[in-house]
């Protein structure tokens, strides 16, 4: 699973840090920062909770696309 923060929408509620402390942190301005993307095993539920619980709908959590392995590219 991938998580993405749209920084133009984030207003610094900090609820993602509470809903998924292993996946999000705050930067020096108090806005959300992704700590782990792709989402490590076992944290999919937390990722979905953070996305669903963002009052600004600034977080997207979606399954990793099935990308064919390519030399030098990220899977």
């Amino acid at each position: 699973m991938r998580v993405i923060v749209d920084s133009s929408r984030c207003q610094g509620h900090a609820l993602c840090v509470m809903n998924a402390p292993d996946l999000f942190d705050l930067d020096d301005a108090g806005h959300a920062r992704v700590l782990a993307d792709p989402v490590p095993d076992g944290l999919d539920t937390a990722a979905r909770a953070a996305a669903g619980g963002c009052p600004e709908q600034a977080i997207t959590a979606r399954p990793r696309p099935a990308v064919p392995a390519s030399p030098g590219g990220r899977a």
Binding site: R9, Q11, G12, H13, A14, L15, M18, N19, L26, D28, A29, G30, H31, R48, A49, A50, A51, G52, G53, C54, P55, E56, Q57
Partner: protein, 408 residues
């Protein structure tokens, strides 16, 4: 703060038959379930959680109409009454001052102020927690933060009372009284800044504002005044009200209280859920500058719109079983600190004050209940608060040995 005054109708939920001063959640939930809530006077209301997020981020939705400013201000309050680039400029300056990391250093101060206030009633076995704890605590902390003398406390208390719950029979009278209180605060802050510029720089918020620069420019006295004016209101009444609502709830829910006293690690999530459920700041207003459509609903240019945070927080579409207080609620995306570009600047400080105050109170007084034969009195006008919060508790022997620090 008085709960006995005649309460003007202050929001759409207040006009419903389901309105209940003690439990306003049902009336707010009713509005969140309506397709296009409108007040009898025609004011458009945004109540549903989904529509609210879209509405607030629309560029034609503004904090003011450019004529009327919030809270009795004669100039736009910084940053509440600003939009767009001007708003972002000041938020870039102010946001870093109120991140969880920046405010951690306040923890010892908050604990000691709380503890000193508890000393004043811990041996009595009963107290009204509004005047003895919830009211004074944020005011002391605010004075500490700004670096002002404690003797000036009454200036702030009078000001915030006049502005948050303006007196007057008509809206014009209320506005006039608010502006008069506002003018007194402008005068007070001008005198403080004159004095501070003439003395040695100090390490507090005002000292920081005097030293900081935006784009190579120092802040003017007018800018600092307009920031501080808002901080007074925002920092005092909201935390007072929230703390009173939370302690009142814990007083009436002993099982949940025992859970957080046994494991204080539960408290941060409990506070978020109670901020959702209680929504101490129930609403804000926005102005629409051009004809727009949001979620299929038309908002004409010039509309003043009532945005009900408390309704969004009771919206069953966003919060399953919204009347249940569930500390483990998954993905709790409440808007108790508002939402959109004007989301509460001080939310992390509020969270810290609430957590430490409740931790300290529970450490000293873990068992308490609403005094038998008495009851909690709520007001929801302006902000929701337990204006009368009479509790009774057993006196613990160790409290007799704790010396009372000066200054409480």
């Amino acid at each position: 703060m008085s709960g006995e005054d005649v309460m003007p109708v202050f929001c759409a939920a207040h006009e419903l038959a389901s309105w209940d001063e003690r439990h306003p959640q049902a009336a707010f939930a009713e509005l969140a379930g309506q397709a296009c809530p409108v007040r009898p006077d025609g004011t458009l209301v945004v109540a549903a959680r989904g529509e609210m997020a879209e509405f607030l981020r629309h560029p034609a939705v503004r904090a003011t109409d450019g004529v009327h400013y919030n809270l009795g201000g004669k100039r736009p309050l910084i940053p509440l009454d600003l939009d767009g680039a001007a708003h972002r400029k000041y938020r870039r300056l102010l946001d870093p001052l109120f991140t969880p990391k920046s405010i951690t250093r306040l923890e010892p101060l908050i604990r000691s102020r709380t503890s000193a206030l508890i000393d004043t009633f811990a041996e009595a076995g009963s107290a009204d927690l509004m005047p003895s704890l919830c009211g004074p605590l944020p005011s002391y902390l605010f004075i500490d933060l700004l670096g002002l003398p404690v003797t000036d406390l009454p200036v702030f208390l009078d000001f915030k009372e006049a502005v948050v719950r303006p007196q007057g029979a008509t809206e014009d009278e209320q506005q006039a009284n608010m502006r008069a209180a506002g003018n007194r605060m402008y005068g007070y802050l001008a005198a403080v800044l004159d004095e501070r510029r003439a003395s040695v720089p100090r390490d507090d918020l005002i000292g920081g504002f005097l030293a900081t620069e935006i784009d190579g420019q120092r802040l003017t006295d007018e800018e600092i005044t307009d920031i501080c004016y808002l901080l007074v209101i925002a920092g005092l009444d909201t935390v007072t009200s929230s703390l009173s609502c939370l302690l009142a709830w814990f007083a009436e829910h002993p099982a949940e209280r025992h859970a957080v006293t046994a494991d204080p690690g539960l408290l941060p999530r409990a506070i978020e859920e109670l901020m959702r459920f209680e929504s101490p700041v129930p609403l804000g207003h926005r102005w629409v500058t051009e004809d727009i459509e949001v979620c299929g609903r038309r908002f004409p240019a010039g509309s003043k719109v009532e945005v009900l945070w408390a309704a969004a927080n009771a919206d069953a579409a966003a919060f399953p079983d919204p009347f249940a207080v569930d500390f483990a609620r998954r993905g709790n995306g409440h808007v108790g600190f508002a939402a959109g570009p004007h989301r509460c600047l001080g939310s992390n400080l509020a969270r810290l004050e609430l957590r430490l105050a409740i931790e300290e109170f529970h450490r000293r007084i873990p068992d308490y209940a609403i005094t038998p034969g008495d009851q909690v009195v709520y007001t929801n006008y302006g902000v929701r608060a337990a204006v009368r919060l009479p509790v009774t508790f057993p006196v613990h022997p160790q409290d007799r040995t704790i010396a009372s620090p000066a200054g409480a």
